[in-house]
């Protein structure tokens, strides 16, 4: 039983390794590198423009560190059948949870340290920081993260079950208080406050609440899978479903009357938070990026890149329903299904491209930029719908 966590961790690593390998094989990663490069470049260009004593810089730091504390969740590696199979192991589960706590803490501390490291150049430009200050800041937020994880443990315990809302609020409020103390008063005060909070959250033994713990872990794993699902097909990711009644008009527009596959794909696309979620997020991100980037050629390259990226993310929807036996029973030909899917892809891509082009007008109403992006995106959408989708669909259908 004591080896269980170690075994699980091992298996978890193998799983992550498997997916990371796939991630680095994907062309999507190249695009992400571009994006990160652009962000890092933008960051370095932005810093020299900042003078000292900006009224908002400290508040930005407070916000950054409060949000940073939320990254890195409690990883228990519990699985759905555990409550049944491990039910008699009451004592040993405490050992298991302690091991899980340590494991999560190491991961979380790495993330916190990275996040702090990213914020430092900004902080050093706008604030006057000594070496001691920097060390204190690192220490403060590492301690904050430890307390945060303890609250996370309480959230999946029988003792914490009645106070879920309070615990959730504390996970935001405590880091916020420490961040305020650290940036508005003094890093030393922040550290003292963090240590006091850490002392207060060091509570007595907690009894695991199976139901909460298993569903929390399932959520966590799901978000990991969802990340990998950006690059490759993860079988366990099916996505959540939201009704989105407000989008009924859009669904109607995407549906071709009398075509069952069109009916299904339109609803699947809008309501499955997986596909539409990534499309919406990428579209918004693209709109913000092309809205802000003033360099004309870079702006156009980014716009084109984003349209392509979003287009690739739509493809998994094609065989989303292969697991459903009824899709094989419908008296509808495969060619019809392909045509219906392609029609959905075209409509969505055109909509996305139009939004991105519109956003490229920017703050300064750069009509030239908009014109260039419009021409590029029209060509790109034509290429995508006439060439890319056709080739990809052909490949997908050969696999079937």
């Amino acid at each position: 039983m004591n080896k269980l966590f170690a075994q699980r961790r091992q298996r978890h690593f193998m799983l992550l390794l498997k997916y990371w390998r796939l991630v680095f094989n994907d062309h999507f990663v190249i695009a992400l590198f571009f994006l990160f490069g652009a962000l890092a470049y933008g960051y370095s260009q932005w810093l020299p423009q900042l003078g000292p004593n900006l009224w908002w810089s400290r508040w930005l730091l407070v916000a950054w560190f409060t949000v940073l504390a939320q990254l890195g969740r409690l990883a228990t590696l519990l699985e759905r059948p555990d409550p049944v199979f491990l039910l008699p192991q009451v004592k040993n589960m405490q050992i298991y949870m302690r091991q899980a706590g340590t494991y999560s803490l190491i991961l979380a501390l790495l993330m916190t340290a990275t996040g702090t490291f990213v914020a430092l150049p900004f902080a050093m430009t706008t604030e006057r920081l000594t070496g001691t200050n920097i060390a204190l800041i690192f220490l403060t937020f590492l301690v904050v993260k430890a307390s945060w994880l303890r609250l996370a443990q309480a959230k999946v315990s029988q003792e914490g079950r009645q106070h879920l809302r309070l615990l959730r609020a504390l996970q935001w409020i405590l880091p916020l208080l420490v961040a305020l103390a650290c940036w508005l008063i003094n890093p030393l005060v922040g550290l003292i406050l963090a240590v006091v909070i850490e002392g207060a959250t060091l509570t007595r033994r907690l009894t695991l609440d199976w139901r909460l713990a298993v569903s929390a872990e399932a959520d966590r794993m799901y978000s990991i899978y969802r990340f990998f699902n950006l690059f490759t097909d993860v079988p366990t990711v099916q996505g959540n479903v939201k009704r989105r009644t407000w989008a009924n008009g859009l669904i109607r527009r995407l549906t071709i009357a009398g075509h069952p596959w069109s009916y299904l794909y339109a609803r699947g696309f809008i309501r499955n938070t997986d596909v539409s979620g990534i499309v919406i997020r990428l579209t918004l991100l693209a709109m913000v990026v092309v809205f802000l980037v003033p360099v004309v050629w870079l702006n156009s390259v980014l716009a084109a890149l984003f349209i392509y990226l979003i287009a690739t993310q739509l493809m998994p929807l094609f065989d989303q329903y292969d697991g459903n036996v009824f899709t094989h029973l419908y008296p509808v030909s495969f060619a019809q299904r392909q045509a219906d899917f392609q029609s959905l892809l075209s409509k969505v891509t055109i909509l996305v491209a139009a939004l991105i082009v519109l956003a490229s007008l920017g703050l300064r109403l750069n009509w030239l930029q908009l014109g260039i992006n419009l021409v590029i995106s029209i060509i790109e959408v034509l290429l995508l719908t006439r060439l890319y989708y056709r080739v990809r669909l052909k490949k997908l259908s050969e696999e079937n």
Binding site: G258, Y263, G268, Y321, P331
Partner: protein, 245 residues
Amino acid sequence: MALEIKNLVGGYSQIPVLKDVTLDVQPGELVGLIGLNGAGKSTTLNHVIGILRPFSGSITLNGLSLATNPEEYKQQIAYVPETPILYDELTLREHLELTMTAYGLDPQVAWKRAHRLLKIFRLDNKLDWFPANFSKGMKQKVMICCAFMTDAKLLIVDEPFYGLDPLAVHDLLDLIEEKKKAGVAVLMSTHVLDTAQKYCDRFVLLAAGKVRAHGTLDELRKLGDRPDESLDEIYLHLARDDQNE
């Protein structure tokens, strides 16, 4: 002749699960497919609905086969699976609408039938819910509504009784009876033998991928020389014989 399976050999991978299965279902007839777990009931049904392709042998439905006329063949089939299978993203109303679109049913006629079925199964106030969140029994009822709403000439029903409340079991049997009267052929796999005995016209007993016995209850009784035994008893005898071999 509605469904005709001749010398079917088939299965999931290279190894055949079904070895030389021959059976038929006539219009207006309910045939019970009976066998132990793993005997090949669902495999047979999966071949009929076209999820699996036969290694050899033929399956024809009113003279049409899946290989030559896939669309016309599928048009004639409605299926109620053993485990309910639903779309996470569709409401109950949309499941019905999708089925109508897929089978090209006239919406007015189909909705009239659908409303009647929904009423029978007490689902008529849940049209805008996502059935993916329903209980097992309610999901099963959704599957039944979708299948029974169509004009299919052949109904494939896989183990329909589990999870259904007694009232729903009764209603389902009534509906099957009604379909039979309309000339629909019904092929049903089940373990609930006393119900099968009462309602099925004929039986096909599968064991280890082969047809162990087939015929009406009387014919089966004659076969084992056990004149007053119930289907349950005949079946147990046959199954035990097989184990001893």
